[in-house]
């Protein structure tokens, strides 16, 4: 099953990249939709960040330990200052380990 999902995801990814390069009409996306699509990464990734930082293992909001919130805050500062994925991860994990 997992291989099927990997292949399907790969195909969907390729379809998005190839869409406008192809001569296939059905892969073309109307302009009005592009206005929304450019927010896709921001929306999807923010959702995952929020769920991993503010939700505990049982799905309850703002119930888990606050060390993840502090780690995310420090990591956000590092991200804005350094623009580096590596530094952001190292800094965030360091704070998380420090606070236990």
């Amino acid at each position: 099953m997992i291989w099927f999902v990997i292949l399907a995801s790969g195909l969907a990814n390729f379809a998005a990249r190839y869409s406008m390069l192809s001569n296939l009409k059905f892969l073309k996306v109307p302009i009005w939709l592009e206005e929304y699509i450019r927010f896709a990464p921001t929306a999807a990734l923010s959702a995952i960040i929020a769920a991993s930082v503010f939700v505990d293992e049982n799905g309850a909001p703002f119930e888990g330990s606050s060390s993840k919130i502090y780690a995310a805050l420090i990591a956000s500062c590092i991200a804005l200052l350094s623009r580096s994925i590596l530094f952001t991860i190292v800094g965030g994990l360091f704070v998380l380990w420090l606070l236990g």
């Binding site: 291989w3 990997i6 969907a12 923010s46 959702a47 995952i48 952001t88 994990l93």
Partner: protein
Amino acid sequence: MQANWREFWKGVLAQLPLQLGVVPFGLIFGVLGIASGLSAAQTILMSSIIFGGASQVVFAQLWSIGASPMVTGGSVAIINLRHIIYSASISRYISVLSLRWRLSLGYLLTDEAFAVSFQEFENKNKFAHYHLLGGGLTLWFFWQISTIAGVFLGTKIPSGLNLEFAIPLTFIAIILPKLRSLAHLSAAITASFIAIFGQHLPNNLWIIFAAIMGMVVGGYVGKGKSQ
């Protein structure tokens, strides 16, 4: 050397500095893939089948929390929708090329490759497609190698280090610098709010719901503005 291959090597060179970001990300994905319970083969082959950093990390994250295949695949697809924008902005130049070129460049069209080679297309460089091919292949090569290295590292790192928290940290590094417009900020806040309070939705549908609502709000707020 012929002008077209000179352009190819220029693309390779232009892409090299970005590998400072790509290689650690590939290593991280390799480590995370193993930490999320994927096998070494699944983690490594995902880097050539999906070939997209953020979407592969999302895949690993959702798979590890037991999201359904539909939700996992759907989320990966939503994150990759942005490539349609890249594809659209170079389609004028590429749609005249042969099918072989279009398929190859379609496969290699990543955030970084687009960022580096887009200017060549804008400048009406006759061999801009060679530039993109060189840059795209360079990134592909480094992404595969660093994933494999990460997988071998990942099998040697003890669990219990909260390493899975590197996933949201990765996304913080990608997204935060982009939240400079009101539209992006609104999209992020809407999606986060739904993600936090929508956890009780079945099949982890919160992620799809949050992403779509974030896009709708972002698109509405940013209507008519190019940035």
